[in-house]
Each structure stands twice: as structure tokens, then as C-alpha cells.
């Protein structure tokens, strides 16, 4: 008998962390463990309302629960923001291919995140840090609209002191008390970035417009298309290559992605929208 791929397992919300006025991180504990590889996503159900795709932001090493960081933008996500600890949701997955960690070994890994796009990247960063010795260097460039819009504020502080990680943060706009960088994420991708680009992989995740300009900038810096790993956000419903919603050229983002190297998708139209 073929298993029913549309059926989520029950899961409990065991904790909720308010990251920003519009972003919360939910600790989700499924009845049966749903283990994932970093970069893979799950479909999260709000019972009776609907589901939406999210990439867990926690360490994939932890198998019996996961954290999911969610920005409230519409029907399903706003309902998620209304629920409390102990609420029951549904999880199905994991889906997609995830980040190819093997390809990053021995390389200088440059991680570029924008806004809530740091969510999947946090899972990646945690996975990389667990085996930091395998990578030549781990660098993170993170941008948000304002200091209040930064997610994982405590973790960012901790990472700033981590010798295995080079992290730089910028905000588009800020008030008086912000001592850090001000400017778009692309301002952190300078010519003198100090990366051996021929031995580097760059991973980008964020809102479409940020993805576009960050990608162009990285290409300008000399990155080869095949060394750019991009997370593509497409409308999804089934998550398993059946419903037809997430097509990019000859691929389905849900099954062939959501992470694609730029050379694979570059020739197709409307990839940035």
C-alpha cells in the first residue's frame, strides 16, 4: 500500500520565542520524529486553516524536535502567530534536497542572509559549526531592515564571539543607539571581502529582491554560477512534485530544490519574482 504523503503527523508547540514584532520561532515536537537534513523543508499545518512550507532553523542533529522561524505575512502565518504554547499543529516532510554539505568541505563557506532568510541558514550554520574543522572558514553576512528586525539576537551575540565563525551584520536603517553597519546587504559583499573565491561556496537566502542583488554582486566578485547556492521561494502546495505549483523551468522547487546552484536555474525567466 502506498503511503499517504498528504497526511501530517501531529505535533505540539512546546515553546515560542518572539524574535521581532513580525517574526516568531516555534519549537515543534512531532509525535513521531521528523528528522531533516539542513536546507530541507517541512509543511506545517494549522488545523482547519491550511499549511505552508518552512525550513527548520534548528540543528538537524536534534531529531525529536525542531525549531521553525516564521514571519507573519498572510493567512496561515498570521494564524500561527496567534497560537500559544501547547497548541497542536501538523508536520509533514522533510522535503527537498537540502544543502550539499559535502560540496562545502575544505572550502571557505560564505553565508549571505536577509531578514527571515536567516532561518534556514541558522540550521546550516549550526550544522557547519558542529564539524567546523571540515571547512576552511565559515563566514556569515546578515542584513535586516532595522536593528529590531534582526532575528536570533542572543545567538548573534554568541556567534560574534565564536572563533570558528566570522560574522558581519548590517541594517538598512537604524536609530542612534545602533553602533553597527548601516547599508544594504550588498555593502557587506565588498571587493576586499578577503575570500579565496576560487575555493569558496556562497549560500544565499532572503527575500527575492535581496537574493537577486546579492547574487549579481557575488557574480561580480568573481563567484562561478555553480558555486552559488540559492534558496528559491515558490508557491507550494503538495511539497512532493505533484501539484505543479512550484515549477522553475524543468524543475520543481519542492523536489529538485528549494536550493539550486545558480547555473542550474539562471537561464529560466522570472526566477527572482
Amino acid at each position: 500500500m502506498v503511503e499517504n504523503p498528504y497526511c501530517p503527523v501531529k505535533a505540539e508547540i512546546t515553546d515560542i520565542i518572539e524574535e521581532t514584532p513580525t517574526i516568531k520561532t516555534f519549537a515543534v515536537k512531532p509525535e513521531k520524529p521528523v528528522s531533516f537534513k539542513t536546507g530541507q523543508f517541512v509543511e506545517l499545518t494549522v488545523p482547519g486553516v491550511g499549511e505552508a512550507p518552512f525550513t527548520p532553523s534548528s540543528n538537524p542533529k536534534i531529531e525529536d524536535s525542531m525549531e521553525i522561524t516564521i514571519m507573519s505575512v498572510g493567512r496561515v502565518t498570521s494564524r500561527l502567530h496567534e497560537i500559544g504554547k501547547g497548541a497542536v499543529v501538523g508536520v509533514r516532510g522533510p522535503y527537498g534536497t537540502g544543502y550539499p554539505l559535502k560540496d562545502f568541505e575544505g572550502k571557505e563557506v560564505l553565508i549571505v542572509g536577509g531578514g527571515v532568510g536567516l532561518a534556514p541558514l541558522r540550521s546550516l550554520i549550526l550544522a557547519l559549526l558542529d564539524e567546523a574543522g571540515k571547512y576552511k572558514r565559515i563566514m556569515v553576512k546578515y542584513g535586516a531592515r532595522s536593528p529590531e528586525d534582526l532575528v536570533y539576537k542572543d545567538q548573534l551575540k554568541e556567534w560574534a564571539g565564536n572563533k570558528d565563525l566570522d560574522i558581519e551584520i548590517t541594517v538598512d536603517k537604524s536609530g542612534e543607539d545602533w553602533k553597527g553597519n548601516v547599508g544594504l546587504i550588498t555593502t557587506l559583499l565588498r571587493k576586499d571581502i578577503g575570500v579565496d573565491i576560487s575555493n569558496s561556496a556562497a549560500i544565499v537566502c532572503g527575500p527575492p529582491i535581496m537574493m537577486k542583488f546579492a547574487t549579481f554582486k557575488l557574480v561580480e566578485l568573481g563567484y562561478k554560477d555553480k558555486d552559488l547556492f540559492l534558496s528559491m521561494e515558490k508557491n507550494m502546495s503538495c511539497g512532493i512534485g505533484k501539484c505543479g505549483h512550484c515549477r522553475i523551468g524543468p524543475y520543481y522547487a519542492c523536489k529538485d530544490g528549494p536550493v539550486f546552484t545558480y547555473d542550474k536555474i539562471k537561464e529560466y525567466h522570472t526566477i527572482w519574482e
Binding site: 499517504n4 501531529k10 498572510g74
Partner: protein, 339 residues
Amino acid sequence: MFAYGISKEYSLYYLRKGKGASPHIVKYSDGLKDPLIGGVRPFEPLKNFFFFARERVIDGLGRPADPKAGGKPLCVLGVKNCDLAGLNILDSVFSEGDFKDPFYVSKREQNLIIAADCTHAIDTCFCHALGHEHFPQKNHDVLISELRDGYLLESVTWKGKKLLNENSDILADSGEKHIEERDHIRSISGAQVEEGIKKSEIPRQTEYKDVIKKSLESEIWEREAENCVECGGCNVACPTCHCFYLADIQKKAGGETRYKIWDSCMYKRFARVAGNANPRQHLWERLRNRFEKKFDYFPEVNGLYACTGCGRCISGCPAKIDIRRVLKDLVAEKKKAKA
């Protein structure tokens, strides 16, 4: 007699002559009324029997719905080849890959298809242009050919064989002359398909390679989309259109269910993502997408064009968008660009 036998084991559907050019599929009860065995493809696509317009897939969190629920398996009598060919696409979507759709798979396993030769063609038929015959080629259990006075039956699968064995008392042995008669009828209806192809000037599939890729910015798209009313009728009518969305519904009595419901790529929300961003904001982009999916995506992933030449989207479209005209103009444009 034959139909009654089937109806004991299956929920039987057959074709009945309609007012228009194409017959309708109706449910059997107490005998066949104005049945059509040969004729031409029905108004409704065959996919309706395998991929329901709306189907419950879960009964709550952790509670998968039973794909076998809903009584007897279905049997359709008089299925034509353009619909059988559509199953090549649907099979590749729902029965293959890492995840399979249990609702489709179980219906494909259980349902019985009795397919028939087309004994004539209508204006909109162009199956030959897509390389499909006007008589059953694959995906059926039994083949039935209408002859002048009687029918020629041939079993194709073990299910079909079983059915014919059970009915051996009403069947007689066939001979060479029956086959000859069938082939003669096929040649007449085949000529009608060819005539329609000639009249509409639709090019053959051998000329479709990259037609969409080479015409992404063509004016054809805007011109054709001008009168489209976004009804999605073209998707509903098509034997290969497989897109759906999952909708969760809160039941009045408590508990929630999830339905799998046909979707249309012509609708604006189809590709919309959070924050109202939309890679296919314009209607012409969505129309183009429909062609890309059929003539670009499917050939690239499984070597098949996702059009079987059934012509339903032509007769069903209130805006009179004719896929044959679009393909003709695209091919002409490609040739011109080359010259």
C-alpha cells in the same frame, strides 16, 4: 447483458450521444440508454475517474483518508485514445517518483477501462499531430471495435481477459474478416482526423522542439490572452492537466479534513507567494506558462508532450483560444527567426 455483468462488480459509466458534437459520460443503471461505443471522445476527460475534481485526502492530523473508500471501483466503457494517452502524463506525475499518490494509484489498479476505436472524428480532433492514433494504443484493459453488425473485443490485460472469460457465453470467435472490417473503419476515421489537421494547419509534433523557449517574448501570448476570462475551463477539460491544491476545511462537527482540489494555472493566485509577489502577474504570462508546461516541461522531464490532441480546450474556451492556431503561429515564428 455484458454491461449488466460489469455493473455487478464495477460502477459502470458509458458514453451517450449528446446534443452537441461530443457524447457525454453517464452512469449505468438498468441498462444502457443510447450508448455509444465507437463515435468520438466524450465531452468529459477520462482523468475525472482517476484524479477526482475534489477528493478528501485526510480525516485529521495523523489520519490518512482511505484511498479505497467510495464503494465499487469504476469502469468506463468507450474510452478513446486521446484520453488513454493522457494517462501517460498522469501516471508519470502521480505513480512515479519518491512519493506516490495513493488515491490515483489505487484507482489505476482497480478501475477497468474498456477502450474503443473512434469511428469518426470531429472538427477539433488533431491527435495524429501529436503522434497519437485514433484507436486505443495502451493503458486500457479491453479494446472494443464497433463493426457494422456487432463488436470486436480484445483483452489487453489480465483484468480484461477475466472479463471476456466471464462473458464467453455471449461472445463468438472472431475471424480475419472482422479485423479487416475494423481496419477499414479505422482508415475512414483516420482520414477525417487528417482532414481536420490539414484544415487547421496545425504542424506536427516533430516541429515543436523549443517553440516556446524561442518565443518567450512573442506577441502571440498577449494577442491570445486578450479575450481570456480566466475561467480555467481549458485546464478542467484537459486529460493531462494535473495541477491541484490542498485545502484544509474545519468541519462544523469538529475536526478538520484536507481536500485535494483541481487547480488552474490560469488563475492569478496559482503562483503567487507571500507578500503578493507573483512571477506570473500578467494573464499572458499564465497563458504562456500553460504552453510551457505542456510543450517544454514535460518533453524535458519525460519526453512526452502533455497534449494529446483531444481538442477539448478548443471547443470549451469562451474566448475561442485555439491551441492549434497558437502552435501554428509559434512554429511559423520559429521558422522565420531561423531564416
